[in-house]
Symmetry: C4
Subunit: 287 residues, 4 copies
């Protein structure tokens, strides 16, 4: 997921010829007009190619518009191939790019189509092809969404262990409840084995509730009612964890702990240069 | 959504004759006794007319009470037409009103009925007719709910980008998981195409769980169990974002909109007596 | 819901004879040993009587144990009647009690059984009988849960208007989406009228997802996917509102805004009598 | 759930021979390299044995691989037996360990297999066997997750009463709504008794929505729509409670457990240098 910051500084290297620099700026950056236009075109192309893959999987669409979709697929593949080659040429360290997360995603976006020439009809390629959708994040990364995504990531990272404790607890509950239901309900109502019952327990605890397996005995219904209320209530735990962490992450950005040297009042904003209570100059050295 | 504040000040214009002023105050404002009474009658009329549209769509009701509903529909339409005309006459800038969000909603509330005289049986008109329900918000807007709605809107606006990052992530997960399930499950269990599988993935991740398409293979059930737990846990993310933002918005309740008379900087706390950027005295008269 | 605090002070009135005072204390209060014992017995009796009503509604149980349940029902009714009469006798203002929320619930707990002598077989009485379960709250009210319940109530009250804005928005979405689905899907897939479609929209938006009505057209599925993601995301709004309000309510209890008269440090707890930084006496007059 | 801290100090006792000390450290602690390796092997063994129990419950797996699973089951049982005996020998107070939560879980992990020699085919033993999964928590307890789990537990403990008030309210709603639906819907649509209707009400309020029982009358659908919106909205209450509590717990991270040497009052902030109740100096050495 980590981009290659070295590559960015590489555009300053005199070793790069002027046109390579130009193209690098357009493809990898988003601060020029051309760069932004490229990003927008890229997003649209990615979305269109993903939609084409989806439509291609629909039997009735494939029957009627199969040839059009094939042409589209090849057009997108050629476009993405050109883009991939340009990225490889213009980047400072091609190998590092090729081995990075986005480098691999870029490659996986084009390979399946060429591969399908050799092994036609391999449905497995469809899923690899759809991984193109991950390229959307590259554009998001450049845009102003980066900071926001960072904040979310940071809060989730900080609550990583608490979430793990929560998930281990959920999995334990689900295994024990599943086994109990296997005993209580038996095979008539679909609880044919412990894994099946655990699947039911997950469907119930997460409040998804397909209804493909449902209890029919009184005892089974009482136990499942308890699981439902439990699932309904304990959703509060991950929400509480993430929210508490986010409140801290978001707040930490805005208020300093600094006191005014004149009136000792606190609660100044980070960008405050004068005390809002007495008007004297704040010194930010201590911050 | 934005109201026309100029119109409000227009009631002070001597150009407006006294009765127009009077009616404007009743229709557009809620601070007089007549204005409040008008609002209450309006809400009841809107709700009744929406219920009439709903009942009209029920075959058994239509068969038995069709003529009553037709009379009601025309009564409501005529009432709303009179109201619309009065609004047009009494408002300072009729064109601006007509082009505003509520102006268009007001017009769409009456047009379908007249239209049905020309093209009888156009079912499409039903949905346009039901848009009347949006007029409820006009009354809410005037009432004391305005501030509360503003706070919610502000918090959602502040978390706009974070929510976008979250939604893009959810859509990506759903597309990739959907494609994988299409491969794993195949057509027998309803996963007939990628779009169908994505529909299933959305139904599962959001914990809706219709049960119209459910996995039957072991691998499919394991993957769907992971999606369920994921969907159950990541609901914490938007909740955390909005809550953290709301906690800030509600607490910061006391940020004034006042600009510093010296440096024009904004965002001062209510209790601030000096500008935190340039240290000059703030005057709170305008607040 | 509001209790009658006057009644409590009534036990101090000399007008009440000593045994009435005694019984009043046992029945209405929970601070004596007898009072606590009475509360526990009351809770158990209420729960047993509610379970008896439930069992009585099960055809197979009724067939086999009908006579036992009848005896139990009459026993509970007589016990509750004695309790009701004792409450009426010992309370300071019997009429005020009889007209209060709990007075009415107490009466409704016993009336249906007597009523069933006159009009046998009235199933309507079952629901009235089950309202006994509300009496549980009377006991909770006296116990240490009062403060906690108050805090929840206070937070919900404070967020009353925001929740109203949210609910009006949800209802509007549901009406408009329902009407659109009625047009898109039509009668084959169960969307037979706008009210049916609105019912489906509520089932979907709230992520309940029965699956009794599900879209079958592509356009219908796309719209319902949008509704699901919307429902999944906007749950964040009421949660955010209530959480932000609760954070404020819970926090407000603990920290004063008072500064130490000696060292000007802030952040003292409400129960602090000495400054935690310099040890000088805090004066709480300003609080 | 409470571990036995006395046992830990027991390793310092000279009464323990050196090899017992060594093994105790490996089995009970996680700070040595051997101890960590033991923990990782233990987790893997527990997970494998749980998976073996699950697979054993699947008819098709049992038919084909039954003998392999039997061998595996006995291997795990013998391993766990050796571990259990070692724990008993090396621990300071064997009886206290045997009676503790984890002691009982350890015993329950091995007994069913021996028991199955005496009473073959007792399916009940499967569930006891699966309780092995609880042993996972013992390893978590030792690892760095302890603090995180403590924080979650503390927040849940602090909100214990508020959650109780919430659950009593939910159960009351569910009982009353269930009884009403029993009256409204009747037997045709599956609401055959009050307990069945309550089961439906829980399925609906918690937004699980199996769809095995669904309303078919108009009135029933209106009531269930209200229950759904209620269930959708009141999830905000437990979430709000837990989040508010967690925000406090995580922020207040820095409350010491130290008591004032003068007045014995507790609950001082980490940065407090004077007791806020009596003003005497706090000594932080014990912290």
């Amino acid at each position: 997921m980590n981009s290659n910051p070295k590559d960015k500084s590489s555009k300053n290297k005199s070793a790069l010829s002027s046109w390579r620099l130009r193209i690098h700026e357009i493809i990898f950056e988003a601060d020029t007009r051309m760069g932004k236009a490229f990003d927008i075109i890229l997003i649209i192309t990615i979305l269109l190619s993903v939609i084409a893959v989806m439509l291609d999987s629909m039997p009735e669409v494939r029957r009627n518009y199969g040839s059009i979709l094939l042409v589209l697929e090849w057009s997108f593949t050629i476009l993405f191939t050109i883009e991939y080659v340009l990225r490889l040429i213009t980047v400072g360290r091609p190998l590092k790019y090729a081995g990075s997360f986005y480098g691999i995603v870029d490659l996986l976006s084009i390979i399946p189509t060429y591969f399908s020439l050799l092994f036609p009809g391999t449905q497995m390629l469809v899923v690899i092809r759809i991984l193109r959708v991950l390229r959307i994040f590259r554009v998001l990364k450049l845009a102003q969404y980066l900071g926001e995504a960072q904040m979310i990531k940071q809060a989730l990272k900080a609550s990583r262990r608490k979430i793990t404790v929560f998930l281990v607890t959920v999995v334990t509950i689900v295994i024990i409840v599943g086994s109990m239901m296997y005993l209580i309900e038996g095979e008539e109502s679909g609880f044919v084995s412990i894994p099946h019952s655990i699947y039911w327990a997950i469907v119930t605890l997460t409040t998804v509730g397909y209804g493909d397996i449902t209890p029919i005995t009184s005892l089974g219904r009482i136990l499942s009612a308890i699981v439902m209320i439990l699932g309904y209530a304990i959703i509060a735990v991950p929400t509480g964890i993430v929210t508490a962490e986010m409140t801290q992450t978001f707040t930490k950005k805005h208020v300093t702990t600094q006191a005014c040297p004149q009136c000792s009042m606190e609660g100044h904003d980070v960008d405050a240069q004068f005390c809002k209570y007495c008007g004297s100059v704040l010194n930010h050295d201590s911050f």
